[in-house]
Symmetry: C2
Subunit: 237 residues, 2 copies
């Protein structure tokens, strides 16, 4: 059997929100690469897929530093891409898992940029975190003529304000550490009652705040915290 | 057993791109409601989930008219919502399937607006079409500080142009019947080499055009045709 590499989106967090295709592929892998948040730390992506793994699969966790040093980051991506290619050249079935979808806000894309588009590569999409949040909060995203913007809260205040003016629905990712400013912006634009804040959607620690006015600006939030805004929707009461 | 209603995203088209959760739920349903494009016509959503259905499940296809008559549409949604509620009140396990994700550009949301948020409702997210297209075309969507806009090509030329100026990545849905105008806009903004056109992603009829300059403006396109734009990416050669 010739070697293949599968880049697999694991979905938002619950094990059964992975696709049937990804679950089946994971069960037949020789090697699985799983990114870990910290060096030697646990991998959330790995915990999602563990139940689909066969005993025969070797698991290698890899740590991608959040370092501001771009050379250090590039070195780790170079090494990981080279390791993946080496495994495939040995004829192995190799998986690389990534939280949510494989192509949206995903570390996998840095590896793709190095690996290119060989015939032996297959990318399997996953449920994005914001789709899972919309389902769990029962808050619709865009429909028909409406539009949706997906923004990281790490961008400028002005870019966030423009997106909130231009689109009916906005997903604000990476709220962590920036909630007070985002809350003030939503109040300024009279959108605070059209917003929902959710943390760790579909995981055991899931939390949902529907009345953002009453959430203190210094509320401690988990790392995976996201705000959804839908202008057509306003909180009752 | 008390009745429950599951709104289930089927994913983009391939049967194995549904979530494990949705597949398991579908296997245990008493009744499945499947939207059909035409009255008495086939349901693509139904064809996606058929392999997970038990013989004991009753299947009801329902047709939502594309009519410009809002009263006619509202009547069908009212009737379908009432029928779903009636099934749940009889203690049944009821499913309603919807292409892609359940909460993004989804007819299900019109039913949600009528049903509200009862304790017996669970919404299961799905892989959105644009995530599947990005994986199939191996074209990354936004990362890190970048942003993504998801637009319907039925909106104004100005709104599309603004989104293409403001965001690094743009998904242009519903290209069908509007390709010539969209192509001209992408050429005007010098984005034609940063765009990919895909039709029927993950289905047997999947087609991908990577050189949009060479695609004639009157190219016949399937109904499910979408353009992805990523400014960081330019076609080679």
């Amino acid at each position: 059997m010739s070697g293949r590499l599968y880049a697999l989106g694991t979905g938002p967090g619950a094990s059964d929100l992975i696709t049937v295709r990804a679950a089946r592929i994971i069960g037949k892998l020789d090697v699985l690469y799983a990114p870990a948040g910290r060096k030697g730390g646990d991998s959330l992506a790995l915990s999602i897929v563990r139940e689909y793994l066969s005993d025969a699969t070797e698991v290698r966790t890899c740590h991608f530093p959040m370092s501001a040093d771009n050379d250090e980051k590039a070195l780790v991506w170079d090494e990981t891409a080279a390791a993946l290619i080496h495994e495939v050249e040995q004829g192995k079935q190799v998986g690389f898992i990534t939280l949510g979808d494989a192509m949206l806000f995903s570390t996998w894309v840095y590896l793709l940029a190095r690996i290119g588009h060989p015939e032996w590569l297959e990318i399997v999409p996953g449920v994005t975190s914001f789709a899972a949040i919309a389902s769990r909060a029962q808050l619709p995203l865009a429909m028909e003529q409406q539009s949706l913007a997906v923004m990281s809260c790490t961008v400028s205040h002005q870019a966030l304000a423009e997106a909130l003016r231009a689109h009916e629905c906005v997903v604000l990712m990476k709220v962590y550490g920036r909630f007070a400013q985002i809350k003030a912006l939503l109040q300024h634009l009279d959108l605070i009652d059209s917003a929902v804040l959710m943390a760790e959607a579909t995981l055991p620690g899931e939390q949902c705040w529907r009345d953002l006015k009453s959430v203190p600006g210094d509320q401690p939030l988990p790392y995976f915290s996201t705000i959804l805004v839908n202008k057509q929707w306003r909180r009752q009461g």
